[in-house]
């Protein structure tokens, strides 16, 4: 029997999502080993081991063997950081002897087993495109296809890598990409772990595109996918079983897109409403917007500008092992002195007037 590891990566603010993912994976694929990669530290007093007890394995960023991990981590905002570790975690799972490793975003829920649809592809790497059918409405083209051209054709909320030569070659390349520049910089043709994967079907053999409409159902493909629920209780998408859905940005812009693209597909609204209820059931003890690495040790929030300045400057990266420290001559002190305009409460200084 094929040994499968499924892992997800998140900060504690997404714990409730990860718990729903865990529960649904357990139901659909009870034999899979499920691993949590946690890019966070719990709030004081929280029992992190208890919070994560349901996972077969918990990996923290210090476990990933990333050199000077705190300095590396500081280069990333929350989404970038949780994404950047995916490559190193993938390599680690492959080294643990699993036959295949599947990454699922924490805001995914699995409804039906995936084994067969994945086995049918018999591939070293499996990717799911954001869209598998063309849009014709201008608004849908703009919201969905144009966004894919900008942020990546394939949605990296799902990724399968088989532990064979082609799979390992891809994983090594992908992990290196993420280590070097897992940034949200579409202006530089980068979007975290995703945009670079547009190249993968050309770069590596054994890559398959999972086009099953029941996979990775999300607001960015609801315009061409219709969810139905039969009298037999089966949930289908364009006629195929609903296997997994991706509840991107639920509670935010995802709700706007759901409203726009679910239209009168009441069954889609039912699935999304179910997911909201599942999240509410989790009663997460983590304060909203908690991220340990989002603040300096003295509590001052780290802004994107502070991170971007840091990651553009090799001298700063070399100088500060842990930029969050605020005692003594750390990055915080340096920033306060050299770039007071970046500190909170200070009007932003235009780039032309001194920010390197």
């Amino acid at each position: 029997m094929m040994r499968t590891c499924c892992y997800t990566s998140f900060s504690y603010s997404y714990l409730s999502r990860a718990q729903v993912l865990l529960r649904t994976v357990r139901m659909a694929q009870p034999a899979w080993s499920v691993c949590a990669v946690v890019v966070d530290e719990p709030p004081p007093g929280a029992d992190w081991a208890g919070l994560l007890a349901g996972f077969d394995q918990v990996i923290r960023i210090d476990d990933l063997g990333i050199p000077r991990v705190r300095a590396w981590l500081f280069k990333h905002d929350l989404v970038e950081a949780c994404t950047a570790v995916k490559g190193a975690a993938m390599l680690r799972m492959l080294d643990q002897g699993f036959d295949r490793v599947i990454y699922l975003d924490p805001d995914i829920a699995v409804f039906e087993p995936l084994d067969q649809v994945l086995a049918d592809l018999d591939a070293s790497v499996v990717l799911t495109p954001h869209q598998t059918a063309p849009n014709r409405q201008p608004a849908a083209v703009r919201d969905n296809e144009a966004a894919s051209l900008q942020y990546g054709v394939y949605n990296l909320g799902f990724l399968l890598v088989r532990a064979d030569a082609a799979g390992r070659a891809f994983a090594a390349w992908w992990a290196a990409q993420l280590h070097d520049a897992c940034y949200d910089e579409p202006e530089n043709f980068r979007f975290t772990d995703q945009k670079c994967v547009d190249l993968v079907p050309g770069l590596f053999p054994g890559v398959a595109i999972l086009r099953d409409p029941g996979c990775n159902v999300a607001t960015w493909n609801l315009s061409t996918r219709t969810i139905r629920i039969g009298r037999d209780g089966a949930i289908t998408v364009n006629g195929a079983p609903l296997r997994f859905a991706h509840f991107t940005k639920i509670g935010g812009v995802g709700d706007v897109m759901l409203d726009r693209y679910a239209g009168d597909n009441i069954e889609a609204l039912e699935v999304w409403a179910w997911y909201r209820r599942e999240l509410a059931r989790e009663h997460s003890p983590i304060p909203a917007a908690w991220w340990h690495y989002g603040r300096f040790a003295n509590g001052v929030p780290v802004t994107t500008a502070m991170r971007r300045l840091f990651r553009r400057r090799p001298d700063l990266i070399a100088a500060f092992d842990d930029p969050l420290f605020t005692d003594g001559e750390g990055y915080f002190t340096w920033l306060s002195r050299e770039h007071p305009g970046l500190m909170p409460g200070t009007p932003a200084i235009p780039a032309a007037s001194g920010v390197p």
Binding site: F111, E112, A133, P134, N135, R136, Q137, A140, L222, S223, T224, R225, T226, I229, G230, R231, D232, G233, A234, I235, N238, L242, R260, Y261, A262, G263, D264, I266, E267, L269, E270, V271, A273, W274, R277
Partner: protein, 584 residues
């Protein structure tokens, strides 16, 4: 939004035509399913808003005023309230351009955004809808809005109604209970112990009236009728273990008081040697009750007959209307199916069914459904042991004009020729009120139709353009609804229940009043009765109903009805278990 490969043509235009036309069925002789897409005669309309001459503010004012809801507009727009400006003037001069809604049923944002011609002409969207869009069949708001709202608001029954510890209640002394039962039961020709969710003598509704009829029918034969309702009503079975469990006891329609299952069982066991042989237990509704005490009560009574009525589908799911997420008929799929998993009732269904299996396993029950449609759903969805399963209708229509042609169907000379369309009864989602409001939003104001709502009480939000007719069925005025419908010469009753009704009294009342019924295919007994009698039309969904009216097919159908005799009569209750064949 439809997809490229699903209901949309290559230009992204939603497909119309035969493939997208839901079916319309009727067994009325001469019926033809002719939903003419050309629209109503007398409603010639240019193809697009580009052909319309921009109206003056006065013209807009004149057109929208009858449909403008000033109270709603003011309540939704605090700035208007504070401005002191006339709400209609504000809407015409500013609000429409700002996409503010003129009333509850028109979604200005949706309408303008989904009609490019209206948007490009910068027309007042509501004005356009009234003068052109409605006749063209354009939607005033997103379709399936009621279902959408229901899904967003749905919540698991235990969240709505969490278990509470029993509160001490002023309870009958055991001696008083025993005395009351002893004074009546031993000398009776028979004894029925009946169980339902509330005090039928206090709350008047369909089931309560039928239980009352059952009691009276038994009493007329000299039999005693002891009714039990939970002291604390619930939308689920009561959780196990809460003890003592208080119930209301009513004997032959007279309230006895609050007691406990334990005292009742004890008293019945004590009296049993003196009770008549004809003893039965009748289960009408279990919500709010505990299963184990009911089993104990059955053992204490040791009846010769036990009947379970499929008055709804509580024996299939805790969501007793089988509306998944309170919105869509689910078809009673197996527990644990994907549908149950995402339904607000799914999680509690497992435990609910476990308790029902205990009851049906311990008590040999005859299952009785009030219609063949209900029995079919029950057989498909319930997997419970039972002695037998049969149909026994609640009521039947006794026609006064047994011979066709007794009364001319056409309206008397001088009356308006509009087709009279009615919603009957309490404006609840289960009875299709949201669907009726959708229909009203689309056909309200069309001279071909006159709209009515027959109800005991006005709805919270009256629908503009719908005439409210007070009519209340009471134990002493059982024909009140039929008489009111008849007096207003209703042509078509919209009974758009979205779930398989087990037996729909209002549909029968409408037919007894001479009206035909418009039903949805999922309406269970409503659709069944319509097709069995040829007294109405059955359609797949609300959009088809709207098309039926907008296309003029409803007018043609009503004229077809008028060609025959208008058969009227009265609805006669059969007394439920009291006339059930094979009863002890």
């Amino acid at each position: 939004m439809h997809g490229f490969d699903d209901g949309v043509d290559a230009d992204g235009t939603p497909l119309a035509g035969p493939a997208a036309t839901p079916s319309v069925r009727s067994t009325r002789p001469g019926f033809q399913a002719d939903l003419d897409p050309a629209g109503m005669p007398g409603h010639p309309a240019p193809d697009t808003a580009w052909d319309l001459v921009p109206p003056t503010p006065d013209e807009v004012n004149l057109a929208v005023a009858p449909w403008f809801d000033a109270a709603h507009y003011t309540a939704s727009n605090a700035d208007v309230q504070g401005s002191g400006m006339d709400p209609l003037q504000h809407f015409v001069l500013h609000g429409a351009a700002e996409l503010r809604d003129p009333n509850r049923w028109f979604d200005m944002h949706f309408y303008v955004m989904s009609n490019a011609d209206v948007q490009s002409m910068a027309f007042n969207g509501f004005w356009h809808y009234l003068v052109q869009g409605r006749a063209q069949g354009r939607a005033p708001r997103r379709s399936r809005g009621a279902e959408r709202q229901a899904v967003l608001q749905a919540c698991p029954p235990l969240d709505r109604d969490p278990p509470r510890p029993p509160q001490p209640m002023a309870c009958l002394a055991y001696g008083s209970l025993h005395h009351a039962l002893h004074a009546r039961l031993p000398g009776a020709a028979g004894v029925s112990v009946s169980v339902s969710h509330d005090r039928y003598t206090r709350n008047i509704g369909g089931v309560q009236i039928l239980v009352s009829d059952e009691q009276l029918a038994f009493n007329a034969r000299g039999e005693a009728y002891l009714h039990i309702a939970p002291a604390v009503p619930r939308q689920t079975l009561a959780p196990e273990g809460a003890s003592p469990f208080y119930v209301h006891a009513t004997l032959d329609g007279a309230y006895v008081g609050v007691t406990t299952y334990a005292d009742l069982a004890h008293a019945l066991a004590e009296l049993r040697p003196a009770l008549p042989a004809a003893r039965r237990m009748v289960l009408h509704c279990l919500l709010g009750h505990q299963v184990m005490p009911l089993i104990a009560l059955h053992a204490a009574l040791a009846p010769s007959d036990a009947v379970f009525w499929v008055n709804d589908y509580e024996s299939i799911c805790v969501g007793y209307n089988l509306l998944r997420n309170d919105a869509v008929f689910c078809g009673a799929p197996p527990p644990g199916s994907g549908a149950c998993r995402i339904c607000v009732y799914g999680r509690e269904r497992e435990e609910h069914l476990r308790q029902l299996r205990l009851l049906f396993g311990a008590v040999p029950l005859r299952v009785v459904a009030p219609s063949a449609a209900a029995l079919a759903v029950w057989r498909r969805g319930a997997e419970l042991p039972h002695v037998s399963a049969q149909v026994h209708e609640y009521a039947e229509i006794e026609y006064a004009d047994a011979e066709p042609g007794a009364e001319p169907a056409a309206a008397p000379a001088g009356e308006d020729a509009a087709i009279r369309v009615a919603f009957i009864g309490y404006p609840s989602p289960h009875k299709g009120w949201p669907a009726f409001t959708e229909v009203v939003a689309r056909i309200g104001g069309m001279p071909e139709y006159r709209l009515f709502h027959f109800a005991a009480y006005p709805p919270g939000q009256p629908l503009p353009g719908v005439e409210l007719v007070p009519a209340r069925v009471l134990p002493g005025a059982r024909g009140a609804m039929t008489e009111a419908l008849q007096a207003h010469r209703i042509d078509l009753a919209l009974v758009l229940s979205p779930w398989p009704e087990t037996f729909c009294l209002v549909a029968y009342e409408a037919m007894a009043a001479g009206a035909d019924v418009v039903a949805l295919a999922d309406g269970g007994n409503v659709a069944d009765a319509v097709l069995r009698t040829g007294r109405g039309v059955v359609m797949d969904d609300v959009e088809a109903v709207i098309r039926f009216f907008l296309s003029g097919a409803a007018v043609r159908y009503a004229r077809l009805c008028a060609e025959g005799p208008r058969r009227t009569g009265r609805l006669v209750s059969r007394g439920m278990t009291a006339t059930l064949p094979g009863a002890a």
